[in-house]
């Protein structure tokens, strides 16, 4: 419940302040958002499985974001930033699909 409220509050803040993304963060923000979404879906799935753990969620969330950003940064330094970003997005997308499938089975028994 708190989590949903916090999410809504964050969205409201984003709409209210209308900040622009700093140029230095521009390549990392989308990947970080996708990584965080992956962590959130993983958390929802764990909750439905009854094995949700706060600490693990927090750590996985932060590490997901950091590792995704790090990979993109590394890719930029190596000159393969675009490809690595695509790779990260594909991997995270596969994970999100898997988690969503598990959530779906929990909710709809199908």
């Amino acid at each position: 419940m708190i989590a949903v409220l916090a999410l809504v509050a964050g969205i409201a803040l984003g709409i209210f302040f209308e900040p622009t993304v700093p140029a230095a963060l521009q390549p990392y923000l989308p990947i970080a958002v996708v990584a965080a979404l992956d962590a959130v879906f993983g958390g929802i799935r764990a909750r439905l499985d009854g094995i949700f753990d706060d600490k693990q969620f927090v750590i996985s969330f932060i590490s997901n974001v950091l590792v995704a950003a790090l990979i993109v940064y590394l890719g930029d330094q190596l000159g393969v930033g675009g490809q690595l970003s695509t790779g990260v997005v594909v991997v995270l997308g596969v994970r999100i699909f898997g988690n969503v499938a598990a959530i779906r089975r929990h909710l709809f028994r199908a």
Partner: protein
């Protein structure tokens, strides 16, 4: 547990999770009050962290969405188009910069030369007035003479009038007009401005000046130094003497200030162009 294998995300170690869960259950059974307190505390701290993280996520999500949807047209454009747009913008910027510097230079010129410009304008206006009087396109007023030619037995010859005009010019006349009886255009009192191109032609006992037919007696109104002009007209063998030889008479009046208000209409120049 096949479901868990399909999901690649955490929890990655279900066995470990199960152990912790068992541990918690066991402690819960033994000391419920302490465990409850600890759980409560842990929950609030972790819940706050999760809240902050999710708020950040929502914030970042909205920011990213907004920054992505800010310019769909450019985002959809091909690289070649983007390059063209960029070079267009750069060329435009260059043009605008040039324009700015040109305007600044002209602003400096105007600011520094405003006084000189004013003086130049006054000078030009004064010159235009002078030239207008000389060309006969502006009315003039000043000290001068009225020279009246009355015929005797014979009509006054155009030649005599021309002589008089030449003589007056030689004596420094600045503006002249000639009037006869009758036939002038309305408003000028039958007067014709005498300019450099004015011609005098004899016509049936009268005088044809610039296409106007004038009848005797004629009056030349002239602006200039009265003494010099009067002397010039009266020299031996001069205008007065030759007209009187023909039986006519020349009366020179000096009324003080005279008006030369007949105007010469200058048509547009067809061949001569000013050089600058």
């Amino acid at each position: 547990m096949t479901r868990r294998d399909t999901g690649l995300g955490w929890p990655s170690d279900p066995v470990d999770r199960g152990q912790i869960g068992a541990e918690e259950r066991s402690t819960h059974d033994e000391t419920p009050s302490i465990d409850e307190k600890r759980r409560q505390k842990r929950f609030s701290a972790a819940g706050a962290t999760i809240g902050v993280l999710l708020a950040l996520l929502g914030f970042a999500l909205v920011v990213q969405l907004r920054s992505n949807t800010s310019d769909p047209e450019l985002a959809a454009a091909r690289p070649e188009d983007l390059v063209r747009i960029l070079s267009d913008l750069e060329a435009r910027e260059q043009r605008l910069r040039n324009e700015i510097s040109a305007l600044e230079a002209s602003q400096r010129d105007l600011a520094s030369g405003a006084r000189g410009r004013q003086a130049a304008l006054e000078e030009a206006t004064r010159r235009a007035d002078e030239v207008g009087i000389l060309a006969g396109t502006l009315p003039a007023q000043g000290s001068g003479l009225l020279v009246r030619f009355a015929p005797g037995g014979k009509p006054v010859q155009a030649e005599a009038i021309l002589d008089a005009v030449q003589e007056l010019r030689g004596a420094g006349a600045e503006a002249m007009q000639i009037a006869g009886v009758g036939a002038g255009p309305a408003g000028t009192g039958g007067a014709v401005r005498i300019v450099a191109s004015t011609a005098f032609v004899d016509a049936d006992g009268g005088l044809l000046v610039e296409g106007q037919r004038l009848a005797a007696p004629y009056t030349i109104t002239v602006i200039g130094d009265p003494q010099t002009m009067r002397t010039a007209l009266n020299i031996p063998g001069g205008v007065v003497e030759s007209v009187e030889t023909d039986g006519g008479s020349v009366i020179v009046e000096e009324p003080g200030t005279v008006d030369v208000d007949a105007l010469h209409v200058q048509g547009p120049l067809r061949y001569a162009k000013p050089t600058t």
